[in-house]
């Protein structure tokens, strides 16, 4: 029960939907007492694009590209999850070389994602130099991906039943060269995030999530692994070529922001290792298997490990060339629950860091519904806005 005075004294700081700390729109409402956060709520949906609904009017092939565009950073992993699911539905197995290339691109993408995250998190901590350096080095892996797949962001490496691209010797050399450079830089970043005094002040002991909390709150991916939860789909339920080219689990028990940095940076080393193994033992053979245009009736579940954690796809086919229902559960929605709980009791200054610590991806989250911005459902039409502008100025000038 709150008295009126208590209500009046509550000071609410809105973070988002437009806020420099958020590169994507989400709305967090923080109640603060001085600099200490006493409550937090979240509201999503500012980046809804109606993808799940949109799939219902596209064929299986077109859906691949629609789903790939759920997220700009982990585009390949979305396409992989979908392609694996459709292949399971159709009873088609992609050739081993294709599976290995899928894993290769997925790990390159993970490098890209983690380097990007280091930069974003450093920026939230006000450490712009680290931000600039890590994004500069990220260019290397983006160049690799561009050379390999032909595009820098939405790689479109997947086809239903295989992959589009092959790895030849020139590509192999380019990747290995890039990895050598990145490995040296990553060692440097590991050094920075574990020894830089000002940075540690912002990360060590901040936002601690214990193992029990992580399990209870349903955290996934590096966020959970930094709290000692041994959960990684690549290890638990190997998909694509992960059974042939396994990765090692990276965990930490500290559970604070520093641990989340360390886990992600050490995962980078794991990426470099497994990419080198794949390149050395790439299976020979075809790149694609034949895929029917109509997928037989059935349901399939496809789980993969995106850079941010477990990505869950549920697919249902009704025997036509159009999916009946595709459900996408992205890792960020699991981790966001943890942020809300963790923020309470911290300094306001730590909230952007804690938020960044889970590597949130709002466009991943928001995907389910058609909302036209010019519709009556939300916002104004251009004409209304123009009219409003005219009236406002007329009022002011009179």
């Amino acid at each position: 029960m709150q008295t009126d005075i208590e209500k009046a004294e509550r000071f609410t700081i809105p973070i988002g939907p437009q806020h420099p700390a958020l590169k994507e729109p989400g709305h967090f409402s923080l109640t603060v007492d001085g600099e200490i956060v006493t409550g937090a709520t979240v509201r999503l949906g500012y980046a809804h694009r109606g993808i799940e609904k949109g799939i219902e009017s596209r064929n299986w092939v077109q859906s691949l590209y629609m789903l790939e565009r759920i997220c700009g950073i982990c585009s390949h992993i979305h396409a992989t999850a979908y392609a694996l699911g459709v292949e399971a539905l159709a009873g088609v197995q992609a050739p081993p070389r294709a599976q290995a290339i899928r894993e290769l691109v997925a790990e390159l993408e993970r490098i890209h994602s983690h380097l990007l995250w280091i930069g974003v998190a450093a920026h939230e901590a006000g450490f712009d130099t680290l931000f600039m350096y890590s994004w500069r080095d990220r260019e290397t892996v983006m160049d690799i991906l561009e050379g390999l797949t032909g595009n820098r962001v939405n790689y479109s490496a997947n086809l239903l039943g295989g992959v589009k691209i092959d790895v030849d010797d020139a590509q192999r050399d380019a990747i290995l060269r890039g990895l050598d450079f990145l490995e040296g830089r990553t060692r440097h970043y590991l050094d920075v995030v574990t020894t830089d005094a000002t940075f540690l002040q912002r990360t060590r002991g901040v936002g601690i999530m214990t193992r029990q909390q992580a399990e209870l709150l349903g955290a996934v991916g590096p966020t959970a692994r930094a709290s000692g939860v041994e959960r990684d789909v690549r290890v638990d339920a190997p998909y694509a070529a992960y059974a042939d080219f396994p990765v090692n689990l990276v965990t930490s028990t500290a559970g604070d922001l520093e641990a989340r940095f360390v886990v992600r940076v050490q995962e980078l080393f794991e990426c470099y290792r497994v990419i080198r193994v794949i390149l050395d033992h790439l299976p020979a053979g075809e790149l694609t298997a034949r895929m029917p245009r109509r997928i037989k009736e059935g349901e399939a579940i496809s789980r993969v490990e995106a850079p941010r954690g477990e990505l869950f796809y549920f697919l249902k086919s009704n025997g036509t060339d159009t999916p009946e229902r595709i459900k996408v559960r992205t890792p960020t929605i699991c981790n966001l629950t943890s942020v809300i709980k963790l923020a309470v009791g911290h300094q306001l200054a730590d909230v952007p860091m804690i938020l960044a610590g889970i590597d949130p991806c709002f466009s991943c989250n928001d995907r389910a519904v058609i909302v036209r911005r010019d519709g009556a459902a939300q916002g104004w039409t251009w004409e209304q806005l123009r009219q409003y502008g005219i009236e406002t100025y007329a009022r002011r000038n009179s």
């Binding site: 399990e215 209870l216 709150l217 929605i333 036209r372 010019d374 519709g375 459902a377």
Partner: protein, 165 residues
Amino acid sequence: MNVEETLMTASQILEGWAWKTETTRPAPTRIDATLENNDDLVPLVVALRVKHLGYLSAITGLDHGPEAGFMEALYHFSSGPVIVTLRLKLPREGAVVPTLSDIIPSAEPFERELAEMFGVTVVGLRAPDHLYLPEGWPEGVYPLRKDFDPGVLGGNGHHAEMDAW
């Protein structure tokens, strides 16, 4: 627990206990269990938790359309490679499910999504307001149902405008 043991425990819980379920095995590592009585959901989930059988991966809403006349809510629990799916059959009008968020806090966003996208009332949800849909979204319009008509939103489609340009 290895895969075999997990599957065994799961079938025991689903088939051998007090509730009635209909289980199928759509894939080697998957168990689908359709609950005959939706009130069994909470005790069944508690049983799964007690036996440490996985974590809640997702809740899928599934509308079978006006002809079939029913919807489904699918609760996916993952444990290693094993996925146990609890299926609830729901009517298209007045569907009610109990909340899991008291047992599993992470169920909250999934349940809110289920509620606003399919019009399923989740009893006991602490924050039943919209998570994704905008303020002022029309009452009783559930976008992921098969018979959803985007026209109710009154959008005039900006494509016509763009083509003129």
